[in-house]
């Protein structure tokens, strides 16, 4: 196993000095068969010794025995696990290259409070060095969001093997992103109390937003108009339910306001963050509000909270029937640990398949790409990851193959290349 891994490296990085020679894969030609794998469909089912037939970028067949088709490329996945490609549901991937100190490398945070017209996709950099390190951990799709102060613009889903952002586009403008104000009273501190109440200030901002939405909705309903308002135009898909409102909200008051927005404007709302979502699980279920849980590997909100609260939140949401996905927004490791967040969720109450679902099928549902992605099912895009062990557990999670739309992608990245370079130096 280890040997195979190294050989893979070797081929991937032969004579390579930078990631510049890691090329996006060509369109699938012929038929690919993955045989003898343990297939995790992403929707709870596990097929031992299963096979997957891939043609024209789609999954043509999923069966419980090996398949043979003449001329097909056969990948023997004996003893390996086959998963749907993992989906990172809310990220600045491709927009933010160097975290701090290099302003020029960043395109993720626009000025202004009302930027519904801003689109993340047009700044998405397919040549980001970060992207390939996610692929080699099984992440094949990502929802790229614009950040900002308030209403920040629309997100798009990309696939992670592309020459340009136009190639990468998987679903355009699937979400509109709103950063909910804090809505928390001033913290106890030794300084003087602030003059303003952040809760009141925040609620004022929310009221402003509602007016803005009301006008935008009226605008959308108007039969003709003298001037075009780009900001209102950008909100049209939201009111037509072709787009969801991704609301960054952690504490219960923020979540309640988000639910209110959904009801008031008859729009689809998704909670992003959701650290206190477990306190409102029933309410979220009643209102059909899904949650993208950020940073499961986080400290509890309060010192009194259960020490393992973030870890067990997914199990609480699951029990209440809330649709949720897990998200890795930990900037220092650059989002590559998504699978291990699911692993933790599984250690704290979810089954492994449920945990997997939260980074595959359910993420696809929330992002609105479940017609094409998120599961190993006939007719879906062949976004598939093969791992030598349990992908949720770091000591076994080694991805050996990955396919995006049937294209077998190169799993090398800048880091594997540097690894090779220095093994060369030391003759390791």
């Amino acid at each position: 196993m280890k040997l195979a891994f190294y050989i893979l490296f070797f081929f991937c990085s032969l004579a390579a000095a930078a990631q510049d020679d890691i090329y996006p894969a060509k369109k699938q030609e012929g038929v690919i068969i993955i045989n003898n794998g343990i297939i995790h469909t992403g929707k709870g089912a596990v097929i031992q010794n299963g096979s997957v037939v891939i043609r024209d970028g789609k999954i043509q067949k999923v069966s419980e025995q090996p398949e043979t088709i003449s001329g097909a490329t056969v990948i023997d996945a004996s003893g390996k696990n086959v998963y749907p490609g993992l989906i990172l549901p809310s990220t600045d991937l491709g927009l933010r290259e160097i975290g701090s100190g290099v302003r020029g490398s960043n395109d993720y945070y626009e000025l202004g409070e009302y930027n519904p017209d801003v689109r993340s996709i047009v700044a998405y950099n397919t040549d980001s060095r970060i992207i390939n390190t996610l692929r080699s951990n099984g992440i094949l799709l990502a929802n790229v969001i614009p950040n900002g102060r308030f209403l920040t613009g629309s997100s798009s889903v990309v696939q992670l093997d592309a020459w340009t952002w136009e190639d990468a586009l998987y679903k355009a403008d699937n979400g509109m992103v709103l950063n909910m104000p804090e809505l928390i009273k001033p913290l106890r501190s030794y300084g003087p109390a602030p003059a303003t109440d952040p809760v009141k200030e925040g609620m004022k901002k929310v009221e402003e937003l509602k007016s803005f939405f009301a006008e935008a909705k009226a605008y959308a309903n108007a039969s003709s108009k003298q001037e075009t308002n780009l900001k209102f135009e950008a909100l049209r898909p939201l009111f037509e339910k072709k787009q969801k409102l991704f609301v960054t909200a952690d504490i219960s008051r923020q979540i309640l306001v988000a639910i209110d927005l959904a009801k008031t404007f008859d729009i689809n709302v998704v909670i992003v963050g959701g650290s206190d979502s477990y306190l409102l699980a029933d309410l979220l279920k009643q209102n059909n509000i899904p949650v993208i849980l950020n940073a499961l590997h986080a400290l509890p909100t309060l010192e009194d909270d259960a020490i393992d609260q973030p870890f067990k939140t997914p199990a609480i949401l699951k029990k209440a029937g809330v649709l949720f996905a897990l998200n890795d927004d930990f900037a220092e490791a650059r989002y590559r640990n998504l699978a291990f967040l699911a692993g933790t969720a599984s250690a704290y109450g979810l089954s492994k398949e449920e945990a997997l679902q939260a980074i595959t099928a359910d993420a696809a549902r929330i992002l609105g790409v479940d017609d094409r992605a998120g599961s190993i099912e006939v007719g879906k895009d062949a976004n598939i990851v093969i791992s030598s062990g349990d992908i949720l557990d770091m000591d076994k999670s080694i991805v050996t193959d990955a396919f995006i739309q049937g294209r077998k992608i190169n799993l090398a990245n800048k880091q594997t290349q540097l690894y090779h370079r220095y093994r060369e130096k030391y003759k390791l």
Binding site: K2, Y6, E97, I98, G99, S100, G101, V102, R129, E182, I184, K185, P186, L187, R188, S189, Y190, G191, A193, D197, D250, I251, S252, R253, S275, N294, H297, A298, L299, T301, L302, E303, D304, D305, A306, I307, D308, D329, F330, A331, E332, A333, R334, G343, T344, S346, A347, L392, D393, M394, D395, K396, I398, Q415, L418, Y419, Y422, K425, Y426, L428
Partner: protein, 1015 residues
């Protein structure tokens, strides 16, 4: 009317104030001797001596006699029948008469502009926060607007100083008399003051708690050195004053239980016993507080109830804050019980009017009246060595006393007058006397005399107690009295005369009376309900209002228990060392024996006593380890938990600061990390400067105090840092602090060690001219291999740079931490002999980590380096086992070697491998029992023990969580009830979680996490 009466009195006082020898009089001289005799009083001379029905004579501002007998003929007699006389109170922690500080305290900001030297003009100290040259007497000016509220509380004397700076100079003792300053000052330099807060100093240094400690320590040394008048220093008025002030009482404003201990330790080091101004939370650690042997100054500033009605808000108030609200009024009682001397100050109160209610609350919580009186009179006088003047009543002492309507501490008692230096100040005097008591009211009208009981609550509330009486209206200004009340109608309204008001109220017409207050009797005239003229007299029957005096009714409300640490997850009793037998576990020894299946481990007296099969031990607690994994505890080489400050970033070289000076044993992350199997953490200074501070190795003994956390006997370390952080690359305003390049970083190191070498040579020469320098002392220790470096480092150039410096000066860089490009120069590091400690998979968070790779650890390990995986992150530290597991994924390290990266390898890097890091007989019993293979993400720590003491038990943790829920509910209900009952309530104050770090990374820490620099 009131004004008219008061005016002559104030005029009199002013006149007397001006009657001073060297000051010319504009008009005719009016010399007075001010002889007064206070008769029939209960005179409390001091806590132990009370004269009943006594007489006290004062003259020219001093007490002449106290005793019994007749008043002298030349005295103005003041009849104090029913009244008490006490010495006026003393406040030693006042800033009365001082000008306010100029600007709010500024905290160090990593990104803020820096000021490297003092901007104080003149021959003063290099550091602006050392203000020993300030003498409050020079700044002092009487301030009637401030004096009056203090006098109304009963204070007569204060020790006042300017509350600004780390060394604040001296304080002045003055009375609160309305006189020229010349006459009110009792002692000009009465005490010297210190604190950890740099106040209005705009200088960047110190920018942290540990920096403040270091500055104080260095200043003690500097002052000692200055005594020999070193030519290089010239004139330094601050140090001169510092030396002159040493014989005075030394008062330290610490304001928090841990800071109290911290201050006391500085005192111990330099032979000073501080009087410590506490913070009100000392009851939480009263044993440690008692051990300081310091007298304390305690405020009555108890936390207010918060408006917890909205559960969405209430959720954010931590149990520790709720408990503190409940228990804080017991702080003074805790001091009394622990026999720690203390005085009480009115300082810190938002509203001075809360002084007496809060003091009575303290009495309810068990403080004795005797101790309270002592703390306000005799003890402060003794501390300031002014007992010959104030603090008790005796001939020859100042005529500083208060006259009260009863026992000073009773709720119903009224302070009538406060006499200071023989001058009278009315508080609720005969002129403006707040009335309360029972009176017999006799109304004499045409043909009838009627008697009523009148109960007077205060000057605006009274009730005629009579079965026929209805509403009463009452008003008194202390002199003029107006009273009206209605009677039940004896008969119906006169027939034919419909009176709607009469019928509606069903009340009779009013009897209206007005009159004059003659003291115990009131007399006047009025009209009765029929309009006839009446005369009336009211005679005092009993002072005060009936009903229970809440101060005397000592209720013992159910209070929360004090837990250690003071946190929801604390324990009432500290966990104890036990004899523990873990049976039938898979034991990962980290020793040559490797993994032992189905093996027992016996823990005794904190050590690993036996490893084998079929072990037994009588009396041992047996833990079933079957199917479970026993490993040594995790050691985190790079952590920033459990400290009050992490970065002293104001200078490029701060080797004088010590993390160990500011440990925070109550950081909840200690407990959280125990739940992740961590038992030892190396608490590092941050990376804001090239040569940071001295580090502290701790064991996670949850509940221990700061000293108890320390890993005793471990070699001392120091943190260095290179690269972007020390160049302040991320500073948006640009950097002004040298160095700004890696070239400069190298020279900072070169210069520091050269200075250290020269300093050592000079020290050895024995010259008295040499200044003891704490910064260089630490560097000399490095040169002499007595202190060891762990250096934050990323790129290969800077790694080699430090190695070059080390080799030039003949020492070894013990550890490179972070070392994300270590893989590029692993051979060179190996040759130099350093340990390395790195992240598993972090990268791209700044330019210098662009080439970071997760294979780093594996390459370095294969190159033969001793590799550790560290956290540098309060969250990730609880999953260090998983971080180690990533080296299996990235680079194929074996399981055994991977796990050593968070256990044995850091033990080696920290020179404690003889104590911890593996399971071996004789080593410390720092062990973790895991539910699963400890490198798996599915593994949970079930038990974590340090020194054979179980500090984390997953089952017990569930009980703790249940307890937190119950206790939170009890306190929130209590707070709601208190607010409903009229207690002042303030807006909810969510409890922040302070998370400190290198200033490199920001890991999600929950919505209430604040960066340490924000506070």
């Amino acid at each position: 009317m009131k004004k008219l009466i008061l005016l002559p009195l104030s005029w009199l006082l002013v006149f007397m104030a001006a009657a001073q020898v060297s000051f010319p009089v504009n008009g005719v001289a009016d010399p007075r001797t001010g002889v007064f005799a206070f008769t029939n009083a209960t005179i409390v001379k001091d806590v132990n001596t009370t004269v009943q029905n006594g007489i006290m004579v004062i003259k020219e501002g001093k007490i002449v006699s106290i005793g019994t007998g007749a008043a002298p003929k030349d005295a103005v007699v003041v009849d104090c029948k029913g009244s008490y006389i006490y010495p006026s109170l003393i406040d030693v922690y006042s800033d009365y008469g001082m000008t306010a500080s100029q600007r709010p305290a500024g905290n160090f900001s990593f990104f803020g502009p820096q000021q490297f030297t003092s901007t104080t003009k003149g021959p003063y100290n290099w550091n602006q926060a050392i203000r020993s040259e300030i003498n409050a007497v020079d700044l002092f000016s009487t301030d009637e607007s401030k004096a009056q509220p203090l006098r109304e509380l009963g204070f007569g004397t204060v020790l006042s100083h300017q509350k600004d700076g780390i060394a604040r100079g001296t304080g002045v003792v003055a009375t609160l008399a309305k006189k020229k300053e010349n006459l009110t000052i009792l002692k000009d330099k009465a005490a010297a003051f210190y604190s950890f807060s740099k106040g209005t100093s705009t200088q960047s240094y110190p920018g942290s708690m540990m920096g403040a400690v270091a500055l104080l320590r260095q200043t003690y040394l500097d002052a000692q050195w200055y005594k020999s008048r070193p030519a290089k220093e010239g004139v330094n008025r601050s140090l001169e004053a510092w030396n002159e002030d040493q014989p005075l009482p030394q008062i330290f404003e610490a304001n928090d239980k841990w800071s109290d201990l911290r201050a006391d330790r500085i005192g111990d080091e330099f032979g000073v016993q501080y009087i410590i101004k506490g913070g009100g939370n000392e009851y939480q650690r009263i044993k440690e507080i008692a051990a300081t042997k310091a007298p304390f100054i305690l405020s009555l500033n108890f936390p207010e109830a918060q408006k917890v009605d909205d559960p969405a808000d209430a959720r954010f108030v931590a149990l520790s804050d709720l408990e503190h609200w409940e228990l804080a009024p017991g702080n003074l009682a805790a001091f009394e019980k622990a026999k720690i001397p203390f005085v009480i100050t009115a300082a810190d109160l938002k509203d001075s009017k809360s002084f007496w209610p809060n003091l009575r609350k303290a009495l309810q919580y068990g403080l004795s009246e005797k101790a309270a009186l002592e703390a306000l009179t005799a003890t402060p006088a003794a501390l300031l060595k002014i007992s010959d003047k104030v603090g008790s009543l005796a001939p020859g002492k100042l005529a500083n006393f208060i006259i009260t309507s009863g026992n000073l501490f009773s709720e119903k008692t009224v302070l009538i007058e406060n006499w200071i230096q023989g001058d009278r100040y009315d508080i609720n005097s005969r002129i403006n006397n707040e009335k309360s008591g029972q009176y017999q009211l006799v109304v004499t009208g045409p043909g009838a005399t009627r008697q009523y009981n009148l109960e007077v609550k205060n000057n605006s509330q009274a009730t005629v107690k009579d079965k026929d009486a209805l509403t009463t209206k009452f008003n008194s200004d202390g002199s003029l009295v107006a009273l009206s009340f209605s009677l039940k109608p004896a008969d119906k309204a006169p027939a034919g005369k419909k009176d709607s008001v009469f019928e509606k109220t069903q009340a009779g017409y009013l009897i209206r009376l007005s009159g004059i207050d003659y003291g115990t009797t009131w007399q006047g005239v009025g009209t009765d309900e029929k309009g006839a003229a009446v005369s009336w007299v009211a005679t005092l029957v009993k002072n005060g209002v009936t009903g229970k005096d809440s101060a005397q009714a000592k209720n013992n409300p159910p209070l929360g228990k004090i837990v250690y640490p003071f946190d929801g997850y604390g324990n009432e009793q500290l966990p104890q060392q036990e004899t523990i037998l873990i049976k039938d576990a898979t034991v990962w020894t980290n020793e040559a024996a490797g993994r032992l299946e189905h093996t027992d481990v016996l823990v005794k007296a904190g050590k690993i006593a036996q490893i084998g099969k079929g072990l037994s031990a009588s009396g041992a607690r047996v833990i079933d380890g079957s199917g479970k994994y026993l490993t040594p505890g995790i050691i985190d080489e790079h952590s920033h938990i459990a400290a009050f400050s992490i970065n002293e970033g104001a200078q490029s070289v701060t080797s004088e600061v010590r993390i160990g000076d500011n440990l925070n044993p109550e950081d909840i992350n200690i407990y959280r990390q125990l739940s992740g199997g961590v038992t030892t953490s190396h608490i590092l200074h941050g990376s804001a400067n090239t040569i940071g501070g001295q580090t502290q190795l701790i064991k996670l003994r949850w509940g221990a105090d700061d000293e108890g956390l320390k890993f005793k006997g471990a070699d001392p370390f120091i943190k260095f840092a290179l690269g972007e952080n020390v160049k302040r690359t991320a500073q948006p305003m640009g950097n002004t602090r040298y160095p700004d390049t890696r070239m400069g970083v190298y020279e900072v190191l070169n210069d520091a060690f050269q200075r250290a070498r020269d300093y050592e040579k000079a020290l050895k020469s024995g010259s008295k001219e040499v200044r003891r320098d704490l910064e260089l002392d630490a560097l000399v220790e490095i040169l002499n291999k007595k202190r060891f470096i762990t250096c934050h480092s990323y790129v290969q150039s800077e790694i080699l740079g430090l190695i070059n410096i080390a080799e030039k000066y003949g020492f070894k860089v013990n550890t490179f931490t972070h070392i994300l490009e270590g893989y590029k120069v692993a051979d060179r590091i190996k040759q130099h002999g350093s340990n390395v400690s790195t992240f598993s998979d972090w990268w791209a968070y700044k330019n210098e980590v662009r080439d970071a790779i997760p294979y780093n650890a594996a390459i370095m390990q294969k190159m033969g380096l001793n590799v550790c995986i560290n956290s540098d992150d309060a969250e990730m530290a609880r999953r260090l086992n998983q971080e180690a597991a990533k080296t299996i994924k990235y680079g194929g390290v074996t399981e055994d070697e991977a796990f050593k990266m968070v256990t044995l390898n850091p033990a080696k890097a920290l020179h404690v491998e003889d104590r911890v890091g593996s399971i071996k007989i004789g080593k410390d019993a720092d062990l973790v029992l895991w539910s699963n293979n400890p490198l798996s993400i599915y593994a949970q720590a079930l038990y974590t023990m340090v020194d054979g003491t179980i500090y984390f038990d997953r089952e017990q943790d569930k009980q703790k969580q249940a307890h937190i829920a119950t206790e939170r509910n009890r306190l929130i209900q209590k707070m709601l009830a208190a607010a409903k009952g009229g207690a002042p309530a303030v807006a909810v104050k969510p409890t922040p979680q302070v998370v400190l770090h290198c200033e490199d990374y920001e890991h999600a820490g929950g919505v209430l996490t604040v960066d340490g620099f924000d506070l």
